[in-house]
Symmetry: C2
Subunit: 304 residues, 2 copies
């Protein structure tokens, strides 16, 4: 099973599904990046994982649907609405259908399973929790909703910290703890430790389930050569006073990991990470081709 954020995680999750896991793969996805706007519940990380597993994701951006149009969003702009958050016309259908089912009293886990079935996805995609608990980012420009920080402000403001609103009063979504406890391998995807994996591990019960699981806990570094492959992970590490390196990430996950997967470019850090009590595996972790995604997935499956 995998703990996943959005675009970076989706590449690895896709590789795992392709490498034969298919219906045996469960993915627990961050919902701390959820957004409520225009009356809709939008779950960007869930949708990125879903669209990727369905083979529909936009290959350029990683998010959204390939070939989608933005006629509704343009019309919203003409009416005077804020349109900084990208909403494709086909993508909107997912948000409308999700909102509709939630309004009928369905839980987010059931809604997600139903949507995945609609897309013909064999793997099990689970939200970490069912409530709306957006991550707030404390910045020089004030406290921002995560999507305001990421999309509207393009990650420019300096970050001081995070608040996972209301998460401590949530429970893991139905099925999540069980899936973690019975997993042979728990993959922490190469996602942002603060805004993707952090919220997942902050849902009451999830961290303990990871610690108590007999499965091998493997994290793939989201930092390669001192940089994040995507998103603000490196900038956040720096602004929060962590080492901007794979080792910086390994330290954050300390106490949780059996194995840390390091990119070949960072092989020289292996020894110091191993001193944290973690086994280090060195691989190519830059998943810029289908082959690279599948190869990394195969390497992780061989660890089990």
């Amino acid at each position: 099973m995998a703990l996943a954020g959005g675009v970076g995680a989706a590449k690895l999750v896709w590789g795992l599904a392709q490498e034969g896991l298919g219906s045996r793969l469960s993915v627990v996805v961050n919902t701390g990046d959820d957004l409520e706007t225009f009356g809709l519940r939008i779950c960007p990380d869930l949708d990125t994982i879903t669209y990727t597993l369905a083979g529909l994701s936009n290959q350029t951006w990683g998010w959204g649907i390939e070939g989608d149009t933005f006629r509704c969003l343009k019309a919203l702009g003409r009416l005077g609405a804020d349109t900084w958050f990208g909403l494709g016309d086909q993508d909107l259908a997912t948000h409308l259908w999700r909102t509709s089912l939630l309004n009928r009293g369905w839980g987010l886990a059931a809604v997600t399973a139903h949507i995945c079935k609609g897309f013909g996805i064999e793997s099990s995609v689970l939200p970490m929790a069912e409530g709306y608990n957006p991550t707030l980012v404390e910045t020089d420009a004030g406290r921002l909703h995560l999507q305001e920080y990421l999309v509207r402000e393009k990650c420019a403001p300096r970050v001081h910290g995070f608040e996972y609103t209301g998460l401590s009063r949530q429970r893991a979504a139905p099925g999540v703890e069980k899936v973690i406890r019975k997993a042979r391998v728990i993959v922490i995807c190469p996602s942002n430790p603060f805004i993707s994996v952090g919220p997942i591990l902050s849902v009451p019960g999830i961290r303990r389930a990871v610690v108590e699981s007999r499965g091998l806990v493997v994290a793939v570094s989201p930092i390669v050569g001192g940089r994040a492959l995507k998103g603000p992970a490196a900038k956040m590490l720096r602004e929060l006073g962590h080492p901007v390196s794979a080792e910086g990430v390994a330290r954050i996950y300390r106490g949780l990991l059996d194995v840390f997967v390091l990119d070949e470019r960072d092989a020289s850090s292996a020894a110091s990470i191993e001193r944290l009590g973690v086994r280090v595996v060195v691989r190519n972790t830059v998943m810029d081709t289908s082959g690279a995604k599948r190869e990394l997935a195969r390497a992780l499956l061989r660890l089990a």
Copy 2:
């Protein structure tokens, strides 16, 4: 000012605006055909009037936006959602923005004014009331939401009656009673008397405002030659035991009207309608061209 339903009314309202009323025109629109679906508040009659005044309405159907696409709706269908209610991609923007503003605590009248401003509309478009009070249709196939009856069931079930849900506990939207009381002419558009004009006149205070207004109350017949130009008005008159004629409609509005505008084809009914105590004006009321719309509007303005 005009009391208006959807497509038929929109033609006349457009004519009135073109004939120089522009910013002096107020239109009070039925919201008994509103629909809540996919978490959105949809106001088909309001939108038809708005799109028509903005010059955007689909010329073939009368509703929706000319040249709109349906990519979102198709994607909803693939996810397993009911898609019998037409939602164009640009049209969706109106529903999303309306829902968004309502969720922020705006009233429907303020939202409508804001949307009209966005579309550059000079005339004042007012919802009859601000709540969600859908008309239910009692039929052989059970009690249906008006849009289920109109769109999903294509008006096929036999009608026994109507319920204007909760309307008796509503108030007219801000501005509505004042606009009616100070009008020089109150035009009851050629709309369905049961499902378009009926709900408007059932909003507490509106019928009394029409009766007490010093303005001339003029209704244009929606029935021409025993047929409705659009929609189920004739079928409903028949199924409810009314004469299927312009006179049948005039009888429903008895006590309210100063003038009844009859189509040339029904000129022979003039005498019997005048016996109801209503002045009859005979004109071409079939607004199949821009010229015909403007000509009828001019005739009404000359009555003032």
